[in-house]
Symmetry: C2
Subunit: 388 residues, 2 copies
Amino acid sequence: MNRQTRPPVPGLSGCGPYRQHAADTLTPLRQRVYESVRSAGQIPRVDVAKHLNVSPASVTLQVSDLLRNGLLQEVEAPPPPGHRGRPPVALSIRAQAGYVIGLKLSDANHTGVIIDLAGQPVADTSVTRDPCRVSPEEIVNEASDLVAHLLARADLPEGKILGVGLGLPGIVDHAEGVVNWSPILQGQGIQLAQLLTERLKLPVTIDNDANLVTLAELWFGAGRARADFAVVTIEHGVGMGLVVDHQLYRGGGGLGMELGHTKVQLDGALCRCGQRGCLEAYVADYALVREASVALDLDREKASSTGVLLDTLYEQAKAGNQAARMIFRRAGRFLALGLSNVVNLFDPPLVILAGERMRYDYLYAEDVLSAMKSLALSAGRVAPDVEI
Amino acid sequence: MNRQTRPPVPGLSGCGPYRQHAADTLTPLRQRVYESVRSAGQIPRVDVAKHLNVSPASVTLQVSDLLRNGLLQEVEAPPPPGHRGRPPVALSIRAQAGYVIGLKLSDANHTGVIIDLAGQPVADTSVTRDPCRVSPEEIVNEASDLVAHLLARADLPEGKILGVGLGLPGIVDHAEGVVNWSPILQGQGIQLAQLLTERLKLPVTIDNDANLVTLAELWFGAGRARADFAVVTIEHGVGMGLVVDHQLYRGGGGLGMELGHTKVQLDGALCRCGQRGCLEAYVADYALVREASVALDLDREKASSTGVLLDTLYEQAKAGNQAARMIFRRAGRFLALGLSNVVNLFDPPLVILAGERMRYDYLYAEDVLSAMKSLALSAGRVAPDVEI
DNA sequence: CAATTTATTTTAACTGTCAAAATAAAAATT
DNA sequence: AATTTTTATTTTGACAGTTAAAATAAATTG
């Protein structure tokens, strides 16, 4: 140990972590009560109190406020059978109190939904498009068309839309609302959130699509009951999202979690990011397509969509074509490797695999298993898998 | 989007994250005041109030309590020059109020320190040992000898030792106090914290040695001023620690952060964990030794210590031996690859490289640079490096 | 020495929460 | 049917932690 004279950090003495402004605020009880009800769907006051470890008195207080504001409502439930005393009156979210729009842009199609405050969809839409990179203005137009469509369908009272969440592939800085790079966008460092906020006159937040999938799992999926889990998405690229203590982790600088560009081979296959050996360059759609067109001698001029091409490849593999099999097999092995890295680094109790390409399941299934095994070095780990 | 009927999680309805028991507690102001003083070294009440965004009245209250308990003290400072009104009276930690013992066990030597509550060392010791795996009882003996040594040297009043922190290599479950696997310990799943607590009659916590290095950086080193950073240690193995929002992140299941066993090559070099392609198997001490003994035809029977062997290798590389150079070069490239993965996943604003082998700097330096470049895919990232 | 300036302490009030009592609404018992 | 029991919710008064504002302290300036 080098016994240097402190302080090693200029301008600092003392010891211990140094927080600029230790802002230590507790989430207000109001919000916790509301979230507790939303989480449960229907729940009487007593149970909310138990769940939050606060007194029933406090719950009554907050709930009466929330009822007055129209955010909660009492529901008449059939009296529970075999219940002794005064029957509990269940609370639930008043779903009509507000609505949220969710948009998902990708290269081949855009989708959008309106959901109410209880998380139920009230309208959805989707359009297909030519996969190409377009200007920011064009994307704003496409997004705003999508929103117009949704609003027309839903026919909601004025001013009930609380906000818009937009997900798109690429490297997205959620906090700043900036798209650093995206396969569907021309240019770099686009202030997309701001542009769209101005256009729609609604608060807009943007996020990486893998993060959005992760949030969906956290809110509606298998991740709801888990404090920590990881999501790996495999589509046109490879993305990942991590939930730590019921919260989405976005990496130190707000970017990060770029599993797809994790290197799994020195001087390996070329990736669309320009580097070599990225995981994505072995398991993503375009990697399979690239191999398929070479190995199977498929007519590239036919220029069928990525999806069709992959389906063809899959058919051939199932039919016994060795070359096709090998392509999937290798992709599977690399995927397993990437997953084992995720497990070794994050040790998540749950790993969720998502993405349209999960259809090609039988080729992945056993390799996922081998990924599990490949991390057996630590006594005492089990990682359940869920697929969508 | 598959419109399945909810709930997808059995026994749950509603939506949103589901916390078992939302225990939402704020750290008490007392503790925050104390930590604020420790962090600053010397600081008057006014500034504590400003720093914590609380009223001066509250600070006075808490401080008077802490003064009474002997945890803080007022220091007479020379009146600041050019200061107008009533001079501030600075507060500081009363360092003698308690002491903490830190032990670091590794295969070739053990070290230990006693530090006071201000973080200043008051005694230290270190012993060399034969690298071998020993029984838990033996390790407990060695640790307890170390503690006896330290106590004898420091000559502190009775009952002033508040606790013991023990770091050792391997896979350590900090929360459970269990060593799942360690290169210096026989057996698996050893309840080391409990064994040592019983022996020393002091509270003992154990941790992975990489985590310990990370905590040291967080408390005393370059990480103090950072909310998020990563530490990568290269010694006999490769370890890593991650700090998220001023706190050490230990991975979902308490294990995790096993960067050394991250796979960087399919079917790659054999690792001591029994698998192939681990990063460790390319850049850790034993990997270099292994290559050195083959490539340089060094007499393995001479069985010089790892350190000596590596020094020899280093000398040869500097002297121009191509084989030796290549060994370092490959290690450096793989290290760069591993680091770029860390950056791509966590996006830390700071990466700290630590470990005795950092002496071999000139071989790593340029490769670290290449690692930085290799993540340039995202516009807007800079990662300063600090070495120890 | 009075006025000014800044730091700290005192005071009284305010806030959010809770324990305990009161009230409410049902089933079970007499 | 009236009473008791049981459980849920509301009301009440009290308490703990925090604060704004006033008071006090300790220096410098004019």
